[in-house]
């Protein structure tokens, strides 16, 4: 009984020690966490200045996803691909600008030739039927619009497709619509 009580007391004493230790550890942990909290608050103090800059960066993709998410079902309904939402790369834009400039040049040259042809035809057509003359003039004057129309058609038909595909069609247009009479001396 005595032994028992002493052992119990020893155990109890141990318990005291362990309790004290646990309490100490708890305090330590608290302090550590408090220190960590203080550090994090410091860190957050650092990020406070960055937050106004960071927030838009975080928000832009969110809104983009939102827009894409909103647009996707609409695009599915209109039977076009999701690439419509994508913007063109700057290289593609430069390519479009250069090719568009050449098309513009072609348009100018074709206008001059159409003018010459319509003037030449007007004197001939004055003797023939009026309807044929009018239609022939329309056909003459629609020719100069070929480069511009080709350019717009390629842009419309290749919307959302790969850039190389679009440039292939534009290149084909450059070959088909090159104003050969411009190099009249060669023939």
């Amino acid at each position: 009984m005595l032994f028992k009580s002493s052992s119990v007391s020893v155990l109890q004493a141990f318990r005291e020690v362990r309790l004290a230790r646990l309490v100490y550890m708890g305090i330590e942990k608290d302090r550590a966490s408090r220190d960590a909290a203080r550090e994090s608050s410091l860190a957050s103090g650092w990020t406070v200045e960055g937050q106004p800059e960071l927030q838009p960066k975080v928000r832009v993709p969110q809104t983009g996803e939102l827009v894409a998410g909103l647009a996707d079902p609409l695009l599915d309904e209109t039977d076009t691909t999701a690439d419509d939402v994508k913007q063109m790369s700057s290289g593609a834009l430069v390519l479009l600008g250069v090719i568009g400039g050449v098309y513009l040049l072609f348009t100018f040259v074709w206008f001059s030739w159409a003018n010459a042809a319509s003037v030449a035809n007007a004197s001939v057509a004055s003797t023939s039927g009026s309807l044929g003359g009018v239609l022939q003039q329309i056909v003459f004057w629609v020719a100069p619009f070929a480069p511009a129309l080709w350019f717009i058609s390629v842009l419309v038909l290749c919307r959302g497709k790969k850039v190389w595909r679009m440039s292939l069609w534009l290149g084909l247009g450059l070959v088909v619509l090159v104003p050969l009479p411009m190099f009249g001396g060669l023939f």
Binding site: W110, L135, V139, A143, L149, S153, V156, V176, P181
Partner: protein, 106 residues
């Protein structure tokens, strides 16, 4: 409804221009050899080639335009048809300017 009527009217107008191009080319194809015969001349192989190309070109352009626009909506279809008409007109103008008609005869 009004848009539909306008679209069909534009389609008919464009088709009419294609038809005119074919008719004019057929007129060239039939009348030029007659003129040549009156002058005691014949039409050579390259001459026949250019005359037939004038007939075939609008037909090809029309067919290609309809084929390219078969899965498209009305506006895009009309755009393709107009583009093909302009391209065919440009090519015919090119042929008439580059190939001298005197080279048709022998």
């Amino acid at each position: 409804m009004a848009g539909k009527i306008t679209g069909w009217a534009a389609f008919v107008l464009l088709t009419g221009l294609y038809v005119y191009m074919v008719v004019a080319a057929v007129g060239n194809l039939t009348q030029l050899p007659e003129m040549a015969a009156q002058l005691g001349l014949g039409v050579n192989a390259t001459g026949w080639f250019w005359l037939w190309l004038g007939v075939v070109l609008p037909v090809i352009g029309y067919a290609v335009a309809l084929f390219a626009g078969r899965k498209r909506r009305g506006g895009a279809r009309l755009l393709i048809l107009t583009t093909a008409l302009a391209v065919v007109a440009a090519l015919q103008l090119e042929i008439s300017l580059v190939v001298p008609p005197t080279s048709f005869f022998m």
